[in-house]
Every structure is written in C-alpha cells, then in structure tokens.
C-alpha cells in the first residue's frame, strides 16, 4: 500500500505543472497559435516567482510575479505571431532559448550563487495543507493520494473543470474554437480574430505562470538553471495526445507523470537475467513513451485547422 500511495502521490505532484502548462497550451493552440513557448513561459515564471518570493518573503506575491512573467512572455509571443504574422515555431523556439539564457545570467548578477536563486524559507513557499481529519477519512491509498498537498495542486484540479467549461460552454470558448478552426468565418461573423488570440495568449501565459511558480514555490524552493527540463514540451505532447481536449490532455499528463514516478522507483532495481539497468535508460522512459504514444496510439489527430497560420484578412 505504501508503494502504491507513494507512486500515486508523486504522480499527482509531478503532473500538476504539466496539467497547468497543457491547459495553457490548449488556449493558445485552440486559438490557432502554435505554442512551443510553453517551456520559456514556465521558466520565466519560475525565475520571477523565485526572485520575488525571496524578496517579499511571501509565496502569494511570488505567485503573482510568476503569473505576470508568464503573461509578459506570452505577449511577446503574441506580438510576433499575431500582430506581425511571424513564424510561430521560430518565435516559440527563440523565446525558449532567450529565457533559458537570460534567467541564469540575471540570477548570477543579482544573487551571486552560480545562476540559481537563494533557497526560500518555508514562509515563502506553498506548503502542504494538513487536514486534522484526513487520516480518519482516507482509508485507501487512492483516497489518501488526494490529501496533504499544497494549494496549487488543488487549484490545478479546479482549473481543469473551469477550463473545460470555458472552452465548451462559454461564449469565449465558442469564439476561441472558431478562431482556431476558421478565422475567416469568425472575422465575417464580426469577431476580432486578433483580440481572441491575444486573450488566449494572456490566459495561457497566466496558466504557465502558475505552472512555473509551482516548480519553485511548491517543489524545489529555488530557481535552478533550465529547471523546467522539457516539461513545456511534454505538456505540448500531452495536449496533442489529448487531441486538444482538456480532459484527454490531462490524461496524457497523468500518464507522463506516472511513468516519471515509476522511473524514479525503478532506478537501481536489479532485474533477473539482465541485471541492473543504467539509470540513464530509465530516466529516458517518459520521453520514449512520448514518442511511442504520439506515433502509435494517437489515431487520427485533428488539430485546429488554422493552427500555425497567421491570420491575414483576405478579400
């Protein structure tokens, strides 16, 4: 039971930033803008959250700074891809490279700790919420998994419901999907395509901001160079695996997080006949799985039709 609990518990913790980033990507891509910049937005947010939380000694102010940073980077991606009709892939990759380079330089200049930020005290972090009656209710490992997390984990859970409502049941959601499928139709219906796309970037930036802040304020307690370590790309893969649908994308995130939780426990395990497997192979598992899932089990992926295509009024 302890083994099951610890794997499930780790799955939930690891999946939280993935879920947030995947939901962020969902807004951007559903609006027709490819979002490779998820990684950069998260990393910028993690850095901003680490710096500000350290100075203000408050996780909430840090979270706010993370959201602001995520949105700022999203706006940059927006200006390039929406206003100037730039190549969205290149904008995304460029943003990722830029953020990956700028953050350690600034950290070094400001804190002189070799490109990382000072470790946050518990007061400046989000810590687990311990409910007094939790142990009494949680009899099974599965139930127990849902207790004793920090507030951002619960926020992410709540956001899945909110996002899927917004996308499918709100006016904004209808317009968002229309703009990603056929911006010309949306334009003819009197909808501002650029307005909707910017709004999607802003929401995505904010969600990435929470994801980045989570890495620092709820996990490591400090900013470390390139600490997102491909999570943005994994989230994007989960989004594509989920065919740009919120719940399916979340499922993708859970699968990746689960393999990650398993891989940590598999490291150093001796297998009969083969013996011990080098850790590097086991660490690669989630990524191998990404390739296999995307290539093999996807079926027909129906991307938003206008994805990656800048909107130019044609008439």
């Amino acid at each position: 039971m302890d083994m099951i609990f610890s794997v499930l518990d780790a799955t939930l913790r690891v999946s939280t930033p993935l879920v947030l980033a995947a939901l962020a990507g969902l807004f951007s891509e559903r609006s027709g803008v490819v979002d490779l910049a998820l990684e950069g937005k998260m990393l910028a947010a993690a850095f901003a959250a680490a710096c500000v939380a350290y100075i203000a000694q408050s996780p909430w102010v840090g979270l706010g700074a993370g959201i602001a940073a995520g949105m700022a980077v999203a706006m940059l991606h927006g200006v390039v891809s929406i206003t100037y009709n730039g190549n969205q892939l290149i904008s995304g990759v460029a943003i990722n490279m830029m953020v990956s380079g700028v953050t350690p330089v600034l950290a070094l200049a400001w804190f002189q700790q070799g490109g990382r930020t000072p470790t946050l005290s518990d007061d400046a972090r989000f810590t687990a919420i311990e409910l007094p009656f939790a142990d009494a209710i949680a009899h099974s490992a599965v139930l127990k998994t849902f207790f004793g997390h920090n507030i951002l984990v619960y926020l992410a859970l709540l956001l899945i419901f909110v996002v899927s409502w917004v996308v499918y049941k709100s006016r904004f959601g209808l317009r968002l999907r229309a703009v990603g499928e056929n911006p010309h139709a949306a334009d003819a219906a009197g909808i501002s395509v650029k307005g909707v796309r910017y709004m999607a970037q802003a929401i995505g930036g904010a969600l990435c901001g929470v994801a980045g802040a989570y890495l620092v304020l709820a996990q490591t307690g400090a900013f470390i160079q390139d600490m997102t370590a491909g999570k943005g790309y994994l989230a994007l893969a989960a989004l594509i695996f989920g065919k740009w649908r919120p719940w399916s994308a979340v499922l993708g995130c859970l699968i990746f997080a689960f393999t990650d939780a398993i891989q940590i426990r598999l490291q150093g395990v001796e297998l009969p006949l083969i013996g011990s497997i080098p850790d590097a192979f086991i660490q690669a598992l989630p990524y191998v799985l990404t390739v296999v899932l995307l290539a093999g089990f996807m079926g027909r992926a129906v991307a938003p039709k206008a994805i990656g295509v800048p909107f130019v009024k044609s008439r």
Binding site: Y168, K169, S170, R171, F172, G173, L174, R175, R177, A178, E181, N182, H184, A185, A186, D187, A188, A189, G190, I191, V302, K305, K313, R315
Partner: protein
C-alpha cells in the same frame, strides 16, 4: 419609383494606382432580386465589400433605406440589416449548424441559453423559408447546397433584410441551384431584397428583376431584366459584340487515340478515388467530363497526365499501354514526349510558376526540347522568340515576354499555357477547367481555339464544372459521380436536367 433598399451615389474607391470603383451610382429596389454582373476585375467584389463594410469608400454616399450611413465594419453592416453569403463559405466545419449560426451573435456569456433561444428562432426561419436544415448536424458533414443554406440562415438570424450572394451557384449542381433560386424567390416574396453577384447570364435572366452591369470599375448598364436578352448583357459586359454561340460542325471522329478500361485509383487511406473508369477517345472529337467538383475528375486528369499512378486498370494511348509503362524520367515528362499535353485544372499551382517571367513559363515542361537549348544551357534568344510568337498568335495582353506571369489576368495566363501545350503538337490534349477565372472575351477565344484543334484531328478530353461549357464544346459527355462514371450521352441529347441528375448520382 419603388423604395430603394440600398442606394449608392458617386462612390469611388482607389487601391493605390488602381481606380477600382469609378463614380458608382445605382439603386436596389426593395423586395427585388438584383443582379450585378461583370467580368473578373470589373469591380463587383470591391463594390459589395464597400456595402458590407470591409472597405471604406474614398468618396460618395451610401444610403440604406433612404438614410445616409457610414458603414465602417461588417458588424455595422449587419446592424443595418445587410447580410453576405460569401463565395467561399464562412463556416466552422466541426461546429454544429446551431453553433455556426450563433457565432458572433451569441447574446450572453454562456452558451446554453443562447443556443436554446437560437434553436427556437431557427425552427421558425426554417419553416418560413422552407430551408429544412437540421440544427444539430455537423456543418462539415453537410453537402455544399445545405452549407449554403446555413449561410443564408446565418444572415437571416442576424435580421438581414438585404442579402448579398457572391457567385452562389459556382459550387452547386443544377438541381441545387434550382433549389437555391426557389429559396431566393421565397425570400423576395417575404419582402427581402437579394443582390446576386454572378457571371452566369443564364441565372441572371432566370431570377433577377433588375441588372446592373459593371466593366472596368464603372457601371455600364442598368436595366430591367425583362427588357434585355442574354446577348445584350454579354455585349455590355465585354464592351464589344460577343459571339456567344459557338459554330460547331459535326465531329468526324478518326482512329482511337485513348482507350481507358477498368481504371482504379485507391489512395493511401484506402479510399477509392476512381472506380472502374472505362471510355474511349478518338481523334477529332471532344469528350467532356461533367460533374460537381471533387467527384474524381481531378484524379482522372492526374492519372492520364502521369502525375499520379493508377492502382489498376489499363490506359492505351495509340496502342501503347501507359499504366505499366516503365520510364526513366518522371511519368508526366515521358507522357508529354509521347504526345499527351495537359492544361491543368489548377492553373496557378500546376500550370505555371507565378514568379517566373512569361518566356520562362512558355517552355515549362518542354525545357528539355533541343530547340530551346544550346548544349546544357538554355538558348535564351530562341525561348524569347518562341514566347513572342505565342503572345502574337494568342493575343496575350499586355504583350510582354519579361513580366512575371502572376501579374497577368487569369485569361491571359491561360492563353500562355494553352499556346505552350498546343505548340508541342500533341495527339491528345487533356484540359482541366479551361475557363476558370477567365473573362468572357478570353473564354470566347479559348473555346474557338479548342474547336479548331478538334477540327485539325486532335483528341480532346475536357474536364469542366461549367455545364454550359461542357455542352457547348463536347461531342460526347461523360458524367462522373463519386469517382465512377454515372452516365454517358451524346452532346446533342444532353440537357442541364439530364446531366444534373447524373451528376447527382441518379442513373
């Protein structure tokens, strides 16, 4: 004089150097169907875009229901009761009909309420205008005729009193077009005003009350439809006498040039695109392939021209089997050398390189020909010389060898391609949509030229979605539906109705 729904007074519009609309003054009577006709580039679309708020006029007044209005956006136009049905439908394919209709006019922040309200409203509109559209159908799965009705519903849902339809029959079968006209008549009976932009004179005569004719940005005629003939309108559009009637001598078919039997084509996903196609084509005859676009005609041309390999079956060209033919060079090049010339359907993608000059396009596909080469280099002088001859013989305007071909009008581009393919002196000419996006003057020229080729003893296979064209040129007509041949009949016996039924798949 009846009340005017829309009135334009002295409207001008420039795009840089181009004076797209010159001093346009005209009115549309309330409760009528008003046709606006003109060749490509005559300024019809610009004019409609001004009325629909996409463009602002440089000068002039627009009155809606007698009141001067500034229409700054399509949103404003919709607010004034103007609706537009675009030539390329403005629909979101994965959405339901209902979602498409409320898009942009939802009412509240949440969808459930607005969708329910729209459903009730839609039922009433469906009944009033006999539209019969299922609100829960996915738009992408509907046929074009129904999709067009969704577009009409969209404008009605937004309270449009004036409907502008841009080339609405371009994608319809004759039966679907009849159905559309029935709906338009019903709209007129209910007091709506319809503006119909078209270049098909038959439709203008059929349904409109008034006609406005445009040429080169100006209005050159405003008439009651009842007072004019088709020929009058054609002359007005072109600005000179047009001979719409093609003098066609009886065909004198010679030996068999092309024999297709049991031809099949299956794509990578296992979808059958061509099903058991068999027909013969003789020297000195034109066989027309009719059908709604997307029923296998394009694929047939691709296979016969060597752009695509057939899955099974046989194609005999002058006694030589082509399907199993092994060639060292790409098949399309090999076929050309055997004597099969091809005028592709999609002129700008497959017929030419837009950014190349006229003279470069004049040898595209024939660039290996020794007469244009000097060793492994081009003989530039010979190429330009040849292009010059094409331009003279086919009356290409402007007569420039050194101009990017993308800058020419569709008709002049097509003349260059036609000249190039005919120059090779082929035995078989495959022709796809020869007059798509080509103006009436050039259509007349191209049609005459094709007839001349037939009379010289060439075999011509003509694919066109324009029934008038098929009926005017062909000696025999084959109709395709869903990748198979649904019927074949001599041109003399073909009518729009009989072909339309076959196009719809009724045998």
């Amino acid at each position: 004089m009846a009340e005017l729904a829309i009135e334009l007074i002295g409207v001008n519009k420039h795009f840089g150097e181009v004076h797209a609309n010159k001093n346009i003054t005209f009115g549309v009577r309330k409760g009528t169907v008003h046709g606006i006709i003109g060749e490509n580039g005559a300024g019809k679309s610009t004019l409609m875009s001004i009325i629909y708020g996409y463009y602002q006029a440089d000068s002039g007044t627009i009155k809606i229901n007698g009141k001067a209005e500034r229409i700054r956006s399509s949103h404003a136009a919709i607010g004034l009761g103007i609706g537009m049905v675009h030539q390329h439908f403005m629909l979101v394919d994965p959405f339901t009909v209902l979602e498409n209709i409320v898009l942009g006019a939802e009412g509240g922040m949440t969808l459930d309420g607005s969708l329910a309200a729209a459903r009730t409203h839609l039922q009433k509109l469906n009944q009033d205008y006999g539209l019969q559209v299922d609100p829960d159908a996915i738009v992408g799965e509907l046929g074009v005729g129904t999709q067009q009705r969704v577009e009409i519903l969209k404008t009605l849902y937004r309270g449009a009193d004036v409907l502008i339809l841009d080339e609405p029959t371009a994608v319809l079968t004759p039966q679907e077009a009849d159905d559309l006209f029935r709906i338009l008549r019903l709209l007129r009976e209910q007091g709506k005003t319809v503006i119909l932009i078209t270049h098909k004179l038959r439709e203008v005569m059929d349904i409109t009350d008034d006609v406005t004719v445009m040429r080169a940005g100006e209005i050159v005629g405003q008439v009651r439809t009842a007072d004019v003939t088709k020929e009058d309108l054609a002359d007005l559009m072109v600005g000179r006498k047009v001979n719409m009637h093609l003098d066609k001598a009886a065909a004198v078919p010679g030996e068999k040039v092309l024999g297709v039997s049991g031809l099949n084509l299956v794509d990578g996903r296992g979808v059958a695109l061509l099903k058991d196609i068999s027909f013969d084509l003789h020297a000195g005859e034109i066989v027309g392939i009719a059908g709604v676009s997307g029923n296998g005609q394009s694929e047939l041309l691709e296979v016969l021209s060597g752009m695509r390999d057939a899955t099974s079956g046989s194609v005999q060209f002058k006694g030589q089997e082509l399907v199993t033919l092994k060639t060292r060079e790409p098949k399309a090049a090999a076929y050309r050398k055997l004597g099969i010339a091809h005028i592709p359907e999609d002129r700008s993608r497959e017929g030419m390189v837009k950014d190349f000059m006229t003279f470069e396009n004049a040898i595209l596909g024939y660039h290996d020909d020794p007469s244009v080469r000097r060793g492994f280099l081009f003989n530039r002088k010979a190429i330009i010389e040849r292009c010059r001859r094409f331009i003279d013989e086919f009356d290409v305007r402007p007569a420039l060898t050194h101009r990017r071909i993308g800058l020419f009008s569709g008709g002049n581009q097509q003349k260059v391609i036609l000249a190039r393919e005919i120059h090779a002196n082929p035995d078989l000419l495959l022709i796809g949509q020869p007059t798509r996006g080509v103006d009436i003057g050039a259509i007349e020229f191209i049609h005459k030229r094709l007839m001349q080729l037939r009379d010289e003893g060439k075999a011509l296979l003509l694919v066109s979605v324009e029934l008038d064209e098929i009926m005017a040129l062909s000696d025999r007509i084959i109709v395709m539906n869903g990748g198979a041949i649904s019927g074949e009949l001599p041109a003399a016996e073909a009518t729009a109705t009989s072909l339309g039924l076959l196009m719809g798949g009724h045998k």
